[in-house]
Amino acid sequence: MATVFPEWQGQPLEEILYRCRALVEDADFPTVQRWREAGGKVVGHFQVYFPEEIAEAGGLLSFKVRGAPVETVHADSHFGSYLCSIIKTSLELALSGRVGLDLFVTHPICDAARNLAGVWGRNVPYPCRILYLPQNPNSAAAARYLRDEYNRLRGVLEEIAGRPITDADLRRAIGVFNENRALLRRLYALKRERPWLIPADEAYVLLAVGGLVPRTEHNALLRAVLPLLETRSTPKQDKIRVILEGGFCEQPPLDLISAIARSCYVVDDDLLIGLRWLVADVPQEGDPLGNLATAYLEHSAHSPVQHDLRKPKERMLLERLDQAGAQAAILMSAKMCEPGLEELVVHTRALDQRGVRYFVSEFEENMTSFDQLEIQLETFVENLLFD
């Protein structure tokens, strides 16, 4: 299959970052169009996590459906009033024809998103499915259940791909994604250890490209960019180190992330956490679907939409803070995002108990004005710097 994002190749670092930013901000999703024009099939999967390895094994492009800053001209009449933006804009992408898919898969991450398969299925000609990832990951039966569920998904994807997806295909795909996970860990290590070399918005676009292109292309991009970033000559500044929470589903506008980056070093975050959900390499030997299932349950990140007795939300937040060596936290929630808003109560209390300073705000992907928020953030930062 032809390369869908060749624009960065052979370019200097700043130009590469500019091209990545342009791609991430392009609400027409040109990489999806190019893939389809070349005869490829596309699987759209809604936030947060999707086992993309299975789609990759079938030669399918997995496209992370995460809304877009677009007007909901077509989608508005399909929903009621009290809803987060990402639900509406994601459907808008489908109804407006901006994004053509061959399959849409959603996981019931929240009360709104669990309606998506039904709504999409009534309005698009391609199949729409729900992937029931285990919501009782503490059950001894969860691994077998998930392995079987992945096998069911394999069958669905085989129909789209028009060919069998073999264990050998899966092992190759796991290898591709293992490399991707390693490269993303390296990117986040750089954010953590030398954040002046990689501002939050630049790290974000490098990550987000992964949801738009085949992971082999993403790997090539990261392999080229990381050495350039690591040898960059950006001077260290007197900025506070913060973690950013609240980007597990709907994404803050890129300009908002840039505004935060002007004031702070974001040393860790949960932006597009599904792209980094598996935190360790997945074994390639043995049963590949079983290995993916085990990795989901045993070697994974955390988010407000997964309940796992081993991952209490307060502890996970404080661990992220400590491991990143952060001085403060920026806690955000998308407007009308029920899990995000509920998590704010938990997080603020945990930080209060620890005596960690934090900044709280709501956002919407369609926001265009950040002046007020930036002033508030600068005030917060100044208070910390001169405390």
């Binding site: 009449s77 399909h78 929903f79 009621g80 009033s81 009290y82 809803l83 639900i87 019931p108 991450i109 929240c110 009360d111 709104a112 669990r114 309606n115 398969a117 039904g118 709504v119 299925g121 009534r122 309005n123 199949p127 729409c128 499915r129 729900i130 992937l131 029931y132 285990p134 919501q135 009782n136 503490n138 059950s139 001894a140 039966a141 969860a142 077998r144 259940y145 079987d148 569920e149 069911r152 407000p304 939409v305 309940h307 007795l309 209490p312 939300k313 307060e314 929630s333 407007k335 009308m336 029920e338 899990p339 808003l341 509920e342 704010l344 109560v345 938990v346 603020t348 209390r349």
Partner: protein, 433 residues
């Protein structure tokens, strides 16, 4: 017995008995709270009450507590308290009312709510799980998430006996066995499979009765109003699932509704319009909300609420008591899955309901508080209107928060809806001449 005597003895007893059972239930909960007994906190979609009763847990349904606060017109006090604690105005009002109940040490308009000893939440609603996390923190109690896989797409519910169904059933059964171990640990009581059979038997009677009662409302005139009377019956179906009182109530209710159907006895009003209700009632003005329709002679003959909020008991599934755990897993899977389907993939069932119940109109009432129920309603309305030539009304408010309930605006919309129904009927009659 004369007809008059039968009417006096039968008609209306379901509503009276339902109210009495609720009062008694909350008295028992108050007594449990005073004795310091830890309760099982559960939810209406997959309560597992028939299993939890084996361990003698007082059963608390926080959803029901919250709606009772709204019906008693004090929900705003509770919502304000939870919002002052830090919860957003934009999250589920049921959750916030419960948070305030807990912050008040269990004080509730109907009595005192005992503290939880454990909580059981299915994944039928994601907020159930987030809600349970609050109790985990407040009380350090175990939250057991019973994961019940739903249909993987429209019309894709795997049939019992198929390999896909068995995969899901096996997963649910394994979790039920883990839940039993947890209940033994928390209650200090050993599991007794014969007591489980007993409670499952009561649940069988209740479910069969619930299904029959819903079927009987095909009668013309309807034998009960699915919005007002139906909510009382639904409360009993949930609160007394697996209990002998619940089984007895539904045996009597079937008798009452059968009698009414056979004698052409309808609800308290002269039925002019047969309506379907989709969504959750407006509890902050519950009586008035109902009157906005009954004043026009509108009777709700069915409601998706009576499906999903009964956890799928409407299916009338009968547990096989010779293999209780396997059958419990099958029943829970079918029931909870059906509850989810009746929210996310409801269109075909609604179209059928229009036919079987001879409905004149459909009222959609999405609410701010519940995105599980409300997110897809505008779209299912479009889909249903494409299938059936039946007028519909789409009116938004809330089940808890009176700040988003505009009675005057609602009345205008409802009045216009009925005027449209009347015009349509007149035009139809004129065309038939």
């Amino acid at each position: 017995m004369t007809d008059t005597a039968q009417v006096a003895g039968i008609v209306g007893r379901g509503n009276e008995a339902g109210a009495r059972l609720f009062r008694e239930w909350f008295q028992q909960l108050s007594a449990a709270a005073e004795e310091g007994r830890g309760a099982a906190y559960v939810f209406v979609m997959g309560s597992l009450a028939e299993l939890l009763r084996v361990f003698d847990f007082p059963i608390v349904f926080p959803e029901i507590n919250s709606l009772q606060a709204a019906v008693r017109r004090v929900a705003h006090e509770y919502l304000n308290e939870a919002e002052n604690y830090g919860y957003s105005p934009d999250i589920c009002g049921y959750v916030k009312a419960d948070v305030a109940v807990q912050l008040r040490g269990g004080t509730h308009p109907m009595g005192k709510i005992p503290k939880p000893a454990l909580a059981v939440a299915t994944n039928a609603c994601n907020t159930y799980i987030k809600w349970g996390e609050i109790w985990e923190r407040m009380y350090g109690i175990p939250l057991f998430t019973l994961d019940v896989p739903g249909s993987r797409g429209a019309g894709l519910a795997s049939p019992p006996g198929s390999a896909d169904f068995e995969q899901d059933r096996r997963y649910v059964e394994a979790q039920l066995r883990e839940l039993i171990t947890l209940c033994e640990r928390v209650s200090g009581r050993p599991f007794d499979i014969d007591r489980l059979r007993e409670h499952m038997g009561h649940a069988n009677t209740l479910s069969a009765g619930w299904r029959r009662v819903l079927e009987l409302n095909r009668s013309r005139p309807a034998v009960f109003n699915a919005l007002s009377d139906g909510t009382i019956y639904l409360g009993v179906a949930n609160g007394f699932r697996g209990a002998p009182e619940g089984a007895a109530f539904f045996r009597d209710l079937v008798e009452e509704m059968t009698y009414k159907a056979e004698h052409g006895i309808g609800t308290a009003i002269a039925e002019q319009w047969r309506l379907l209700f989709v969504g959750v009632p407006c509890y902050p003005i519950f009586r008035r909300f109902s009157e906005l329709f009954t004043d026009w002679g509108g009777v709700f003959v069915h409601s998706t609420y009576l499906w999903f909020a009964s956890g799928g008991a409407n299916l009338g599934f009968t547990y096989d008591l010779t293999r209780p755990l396997e059958s419990l897993a099958e029943g829970v899977l079918l029931g909870v899955r059906d509850a989810m389907d009746s929210m996310f993939f409801q269109t075909p069932a609604l179209a059928e309901m229009i036919d079987t119940h001879r409905a004149d109109g459909v009222v959609y009432h999405p609410i701010k508080s519940c995105r599980t129920v409300s997110t897809g309603l505008a779209d299912t309305r479009r889909a249903l209107m494409a299938l059936r030539d039946v007028p519909s009304l789409f009116v938004e408010s809330d089940m808890m928060d009176r700040r988003v309930v505009s009675e005057a605006q609602m009345k205008n919309r409802i009045d216009a809806f009925f005027e449209g129904l009347a015009t349509r009927r007149h035009q139809g009659a004129a065309a038939a001449l």
